[in-house]
């Protein structure tokens, strides 16, 4: 046991000290945080320039003043100007582009053109589209000659979001959010995939390194091959856990720092607000609702989301994640170790890698499909089959899985996991001492039956 800990320590320390590890560990969360904070900023600001847009209507003034100015665009309604004249000179006149509305607009919605030298940002287009749409709808309604139309319009304006409530067997009601469950399923499935794959492959590379540098025979004259294999697998798992913990911590820290520094420069409420508005649709922005009125429903929405997130079975998720991570990782890592032991260099691993990666990729695909349809039979079976269950089951759990299914899946996983480690250890034991021979599956099968 003491020797295994010496091996674990070496595997851990030698990897954690590597420059590539340190760089990855520090850079990845910075990039993540930058993505989390800057992406909405970019989406909101687009290119950040203030734009002046000329609005020209042909022979009518139906849309005069319809498109409201926004923070980064001003809409100048020009009367008595011909489009063709302005086309040549609009840039010199300080306009970003020309919005041309032909009179057939009410009947043919394509009769609208935005002429500009550059590709206009999506936010701008959405704003124009939704403003005009509302106005056209209003005008069409007007033609029905309804009394008090404006009042009625204000009255019927609604925001719709579906609230999903799930009733379990005991009859207790839980408010759930499919969005949250989907997001969680995706993150958990992907995280499992990455952990198993990245660190499993590292185990394989470590084994190959020991074999090609011929250090392995020196080691196994001191320790049992199984100890060496397990020490390596555990050591690398710890490296993975360390990296993830640092990532989580650093990401949160950077997000907080970025939020307090960058965002405070501008008015925070305005930003969060326009971020969410841009992220949803532009509809709310127009139609007379004032900006301050927007904030409270969004805050409510947010706190509801938070409640929903807290309603997830976190205890179960964490227990299952740890269980499936450990068994799944050990299962695949030991197979990777066996493959590493059977080859002389990394290029030879190809033929063995394919059958191993197929179940992992399949699992990821099923996990993504699970988010659309959590109760499908494919999802069910893949969450039972041990090669795919770590990833697929984690994707299913946020949607609710009966306990008996989890239990069956775990038992199957445990049995398979032990079987795989046992077989991998046998192949490994023979493989690490074999040089120069091209190994085949048949050859590996033979190694399985060699005695001690």
């Amino acid at each position: 046991m003491n020797k295994i800990s010496v091996i674990i320590k070496r595997e851990y320390v030698s990897r954690v000290r590597k420059k590539s590890f340190i760089i990855m560990t520090i850079l990845a969360p910075l990039l993540m945080a930058a993505l989390v904070v800057l992406l909405p900023l970019l989406m909101m600001n687009q290119d950040g320039d203030f734009k002046k847009i000329a609005v020209i209507e042909n022979n009518s003034d139906l849309f005069k003043g319809v498109i409201k100015n926004t923070k980064d665009a001003e809409y100048v309604y020009l009367e008595n100007t011909k489009v063709d004249d302005l086309k040549k000179t609009f840039e010199k006149a300080g306009y970003y582009g020309i919005l041309y509305i032909s009179p057939e607009l009410v009947n043919t919605p394509n009769a609208i053109q935005l002429i500009s030298k550059q590709q206009p940002p999506i936010g701008l287009l959405q704003h124009i589209e939704s403003s005009l749409k509302k106005e056209i709808e209003r005008q069409k309604l007007l033609s029905y000659k309804i009394d008090n139309l404006d009042e009625i319009m204000k009255n019927i304006e609604t925001n719709v979001s579906i609230q999903t409530i799930k009733i379990d067997e005991s009859g207790s009601v839980k408010e759930t959010s499919t969005g949250i469950a989907m997001g969680l399923a995706y993150i958990l499935g992907l995280l499992m995939y990455m952990l198993v794959f990245i660190f499993g492959a590292q185990v394989m590379r470590g084994v190959i390194e020991e074999k090609t540098s011929r250090v392995v025979e020196v080691i196994i004259s001191s320790v049992k091959p199984l100890q060496l294999m397990m020490g390596k697998i555990v050591g690398i798992a710890l490296v993975g856990l360390t990296q993830f913990l640092i990532w989580i911590f650093l990401t949160m820290a950077t997000v907080t720092v970025l939020k307090t520094t960058i965002l405070q420069k501008s008015d925070p409420t305005e930003i969060t607000q326009s971020v969410s508005q841009n992220l949803m649709s532009g509809d709310q922005q127009v139609a007379g609702t004032t900006q301050t009125a927007d904030i409270s429903p969004q805050l409510a929405e947010f706190s509801k989301m938070f409640d929903n997130a807290m309603n997830q079975p976190w205890g179960l998720i964490i227990i299952c994640f740890i269980f499936y991570f450990i068994t799944g990782y050990f299962l695949y890592a030991s197979v990777f170790a066996a493959i590493g032991s059977a080859v002389d260099n990394e290029t030879e691993t190809q033929q063995f890698m394919l059958p191993v990666t197929i179940p992992i990729i399949l699992a990821l695909m099923v996990a993504i499909a699970t988010m659309q349809n959590p109760e499908s039979s494919v999802s069910f079976w893949c969450s039972m089959i041990p090669l795919t269950s770590p990833i697929v089951m984690m994707a299913r759990i946020p949607f609710g899985v009966p306990y008996w299914q989890i239990a069956v899946s775990m038992v199957l996983m445990l049995v398979t996991f032990m079987g795989f480690v046992w077989m991998a250890a046998k192949v490994y034991r023979t493989g690490i001492l074999m040089y120069g021979k091209k190994t085949s599956w048949k050859e590996m099968w033979k190694w399985l039956r060699y005695s001690g």
Partner: protein, 302 residues
């Protein structure tokens, strides 16, 4: 008393027999040569002694007791296929291997300092393996092998990669370790070093033991009743009924003659006959070199 014994060891890989009923007995403080052509089964036997693989049948004894898994602590093994972690500093690396052999960190550190100084590589302590010459890497490996002061040392081709100077240093270290009580199993193709170092040998070919015993005994057994006679100056003699001349040649103003006796003959009689031809400088039984014996034995089997 035998420090290590293997009795009737058999090992099979698939259909291939790697060791067929092989027995060796290594006396204490002996340097024991394990010889044989490539693929004879030497490495398999060494791996079995190190408990890297187990035998299909047969028994192994260390100090008269059955070999146990914990005995790896008292065995030191320098494999033929040896290497170090390329990216790891050699000092740390040596510490790691010492700890795997059960030494405490502090104790390992103390001994490593001693050995690194002794073999003159202390300045390289913090260097990575890839920055070292092959000879220096070999020295580190030698230190790793002997650091835990094992009772039984197994060297598989220990001199490959060393220049003559370093070969000599390592040779002397091996003899020094023997003096301090270690028993050494030594596998090599270099027959000169066998003659020089080994007390006993076993020759394995195609999974079977075909020759074993002390080096001196084997050499005189294989001596074909031949003698080397050296005269001062240019001397030629001819064979008679008692001996045949196999060849004679001149070297540095000496005449060297190889002769074979025809029967069990008193050497004094021969000397009395040949001394009439000139001044005799030396008269020695011509022992075959281990190299000759090796080749003759293996070729006879084919």
């Amino acid at each position: 008393m035998a420090l290590f014994e293997a009795k009737n060891v058999t090992k099979q890989y698939g259909n291939q027999l790697a060791l067929d009923n092989v027995s060796i007995s290594v006396p204490e403080q002996c340097i024991y040569g394990l010889l044989g052509p490539n693929g004879a089964g030497k490495t398999t036997l060494i791996r079995i002694i190190n408990q890297i693989t187990g035998p299909d049948s047969g028994e192994l004894f260390l100090n008269g007791k059955k070999l146990m898994p914990d005995d790896v602590q008292v065995i030191g093994y320098l494999p033929e296929e040896r290497g170090l972690y390329k990216k790891m500093k050699i000092g740390e690396q040596a510490l790691y291997f010492a700890q795997l052999k059960g030494l405490s960190r502090a104790e390992a550190m103390k001994r490593l300092k001693y050995w690194f100084n002794k073999l003159d590589i202390i300045d390289w302590w913090g260097k990575k393996v890839e920055e070292l010459s092959k000879g220096m890497q070999q020295k580190v490996q030698f230190i790793i092998t002997v650091l835990h002061e094992p009772k039984l040392l197994i060297f598989d081709e220990p001199f490959t990669g060393f220049d003559p100077l370093n070969t000599n240093i390592v040779k002397n270290e091996i003899l020094f370790l023997r003096e301090r009580g270690a028993t050494i199993i030594f596998s090599t193709h270099n027959m000169e070093s066998v003659e020089e170092l080994c007390d006993n040998i076993t020759l394995i070919d195609k999974a079977k033991t075909i020759l074993e015993g002390s080096v001196d005994e084997i050499r005189s057994q294989w001596a074909a009743n031949e003698y080397d006679l050296v005269f001062d100056g240019d001397v030629k003699i001819e064979g008679n009924g008692q001996y045949n001349i196999l060849n004679q040649h001149k070297d540095n103003n000496k005449s060297i003659i190889r002769m074979r006796m025809t029967g069990n003959i008193n050497t004094n009689d021969i000397l009395q006959t040949v001394m009439k031809s000139g001044n005799i400088i030396s008269f020695n039984p011509a022992l075959p070199s281990m190299n000759e014996i090796f080749i003759r034995v293996i070729e006879a089997r084919n």
